[in-house]
Symmetry: C2
């Protein structure tokens, strides 16, 4: 094929990706509105990032780690690509053992954030695997698969070779188990953007499906620290058999406010396997280890010490305080919106509220209505997939004062 | 093909990768030797990591950044995937403008280290591109291409679909310009592992070749801060036309001792293009931006502030002091080895020395000889590719005392 060209070839799959204009479209609308109404104070409830400062225990740990880097005796150069033992051990001891999940250190891969690993995990899997995602969905799952050619082309806002599991009020946001075989299933619970969860029983159905069909579940548990109810699993490994069919992604970003520090981790159990075309089973733990050793060089030592600190008694208490702050915001917004007559989902075990647009409005109509009449900015649900139409995502990451004022304004509509 | 299997499929390209046993084989030999000779003090000159603590300016900047994260007013959450403006601007102003290279901010992508980006850059390129590498070589360039199926299979320690450019004493480590078309050419100068460089004239030949053949040069300049001679280019963009054919990888790891902090950057000029199969030219800057926005979430804020600090007057002076320390080590080792009768390459513009094994010994024989007779550990050249046979890599990252003692021991051989 080089006879047709005199240049190196691009990966043409990238050219299939539509422009990602959601947040820039929102920004443009808000800017225009501000220019026309300079006297109004806009409240941003679309923000998907933490706003509370890092807890004291984390700050102390980072200062200490910085000082270590200043002395020859305690300086740290390259760390293990998989993460330092002190952090891997703390993760196992505090995030899994209390829930009865036993893990080996070799199954914990510390990384620079869940976005990287949910995007990169496809590296170790065949490009002909069939992908399934819930709809609405965190766009990285889809876009990273588009980039390697795993999705086919797009028709009517859907990729031909992706199976979508609609999650709407009609099915109480519980995705239906597919009737056909799917190889790679992305599940994110508690869910971004809907804020909804799966019970142990519902998640168990997916694990059973995966075991029966040789599927791999890519389970994103970035928001597990926000779970408040007892029947909601924090880890997919609480479900019998999940170690044989699931990889789990965890993040310190939302758990401990680390969005600027870049540290998370991925669990790849030694039991989880995929197969060659000839039917030979292969350990994904070994392949992922090889991938990380070759294309990653470990997370920052300072960030790893910061992460270790959240497992101390002080650290635990302090991050719990921040999470409570956000979840109290969620409660205020949820009950306020309900009292004002809105249908609200999520916000009980997750910092996201998924609000049904009233009167059959579209996502963007609802967005415009809140901006124009209440000076409130949300995120249109269509930005997360076709089944997001008719919804708006609000987040609990703002200030308490803004949450109260937003509800007051909405009550006056 | 799913009818043949009941499981998700692995990326079988990973199974082609031979085990990477170089450093574990070395470790085993050293452990065995230590057990047999507990009284001897081993000097490790194979180490590929910095050992000097971080300079004061960097430490001060990190403490300040940590304190910012403790306060609501100065807390930073997600940063731009491409890096903060303060760092991108400092990079352009201090690393490029003084050499007459003008860059746009949009051309600088801050990352978590050069290993990630040299490994990931292939994401945006077609898997049928022909790859060329110097031999010996930094293994990441090859292994990351094996993983996507760009290399074919291995015969006699070489991948069938990779073109190797041998670099040995016979050609003074100057790779020969290929006679056929190559799409993606990896060049690392100053070179790891040989420590050798290309002059402006020699690098110019590669740029001319790339422009004539529509090739893309992937230029790894991780060691540019070690350059001491005037005629050696620090950036490929010092060469006319390189912005149309080259992507450059830079690292703070060896420049400023950041191996534990994880921060580097990649330059993707807006002029550099590759093509679709139909001959449509595509901006690689846009594709890389999309790749990074989807599969990366920025480098740690603390690490980016640390990097910014190396461009202050104090920071510059302090990192220059560390580099001088290592390069004085290199000088001591180089002249000592030469006086002892060894043929030594590199070590003038790079922290690596590439020592020819005496008397026709193999790399491993030479390794064993130094370990058994002088208690010195190097790295066998064969670990970096077939043309590394008959050489040993020594690095200048040890202590001054060890360098002196190593030379004394070698003189007694």
């Amino acid at each position: 094929m080089h006879s047709f060209t005199q240049m190196a070839l691009v990966n043409e799959n990238f050219l299939k990706l539509p422009g990602n204009y959601l947040f820039s479209d929102i920004a443009k609308k808000v800017e225009k509105y501000k220019a026309e109404h300079p006297e109004r104070r806009i409240i941003r409830l679309g923000i998907g990032d933490v706003t509370r400062p890092l807890p004291e225990a984390v700050i102390v740990a980072m200062h200490k780690a910085v000082d270590e880097m200043a002395n020859k005796e305690t300086f740290r150069g390259y760390g293990p690509e998989q993460g330092y033992d002190f952090l891997r051990e703390a993760i196992i001891k505090h995030d899994f053992e209390p829930r009865g999940i036993m893990l080996r250190k070799s199954e914990v891969f510390v990384n620079d954030g869940a976005k990287s690993d949910t995007g990169n995990i496809g590296d170790i899997l065949d490009i002909n695997n069939r992908v399934g995602v819930t709809d609405p969905v965190y766009p990285v799952y889809i876009d990273s698969n588009v980039m390697v050619g795993r999705t086919g082309n797009m028709t009517d806002d859907k990729w031909n070779d992706i199976t979508y599991f609609p999650c709407t009020a009609e099915n109480n946001f519980i995705p239906e188990i597919p009737h056909e075989r799917i190889d790679m299933i992305y599940l994110c619970y508690p869910n971004n953007p809907t804020g909804m969860t799966l019970s142990r029983e519902e998640l168990g159905k997916w694990v059973d499906y995966a075991l029966a069909n040789g599927s791999l579940i890519l389970f994103d548990a970035a928001y597990e620290a926000y779970i408040r109810e007892n029947d909601v699993p924090h880890s997919i490994y609480e479900i019998e058999g999940a170690k044989r069919c699931a990889i789990e992604f965890r993040s310190f970003s939302k758990t401990a406010g680390f969005t600027g520090l870049r540290c998370g981790y991925t669990i790849v159990p030694e039991e989880v396997k995929a197969s060659t075309r000839n039917g030979v089973e292969v350990s994904l733990n070994q392949l992922w280890n090889r991938r990380q050793s070759t294309k990653f060089n470990g997370a920052s030592y300072i960030s790893q010490r910061a992460a270790e600190a959240i497992y101390t008694p002080d650290g635990k208490e302090q991050i719990a305080g921040n999470i409570k702050y956000y979840m109290d915001n969620a409660k205020i917004m949820r009950s306020g919106l309900q009292k004002a007559g809105y249908k609200v989902f999520g916000g009980i075990n997750a910092p996201y509220l998924w609000v049904k647009a009233p009167d059959g409005l579209s996502s963007w109509d609802f967005f415009d209505m809140l901006l124009n009449n209440a000076d409130i900015v949300g995120t249109p649900g269509t930005g997360f997939g076709p089944s997001g139409e008719g919804y708006l995502r609000l987040t609990a990451f703002g200030t308490r004062e803004d949450c109260h004022e937003a509800i007051e304004r909405i009550n006056k509509l």
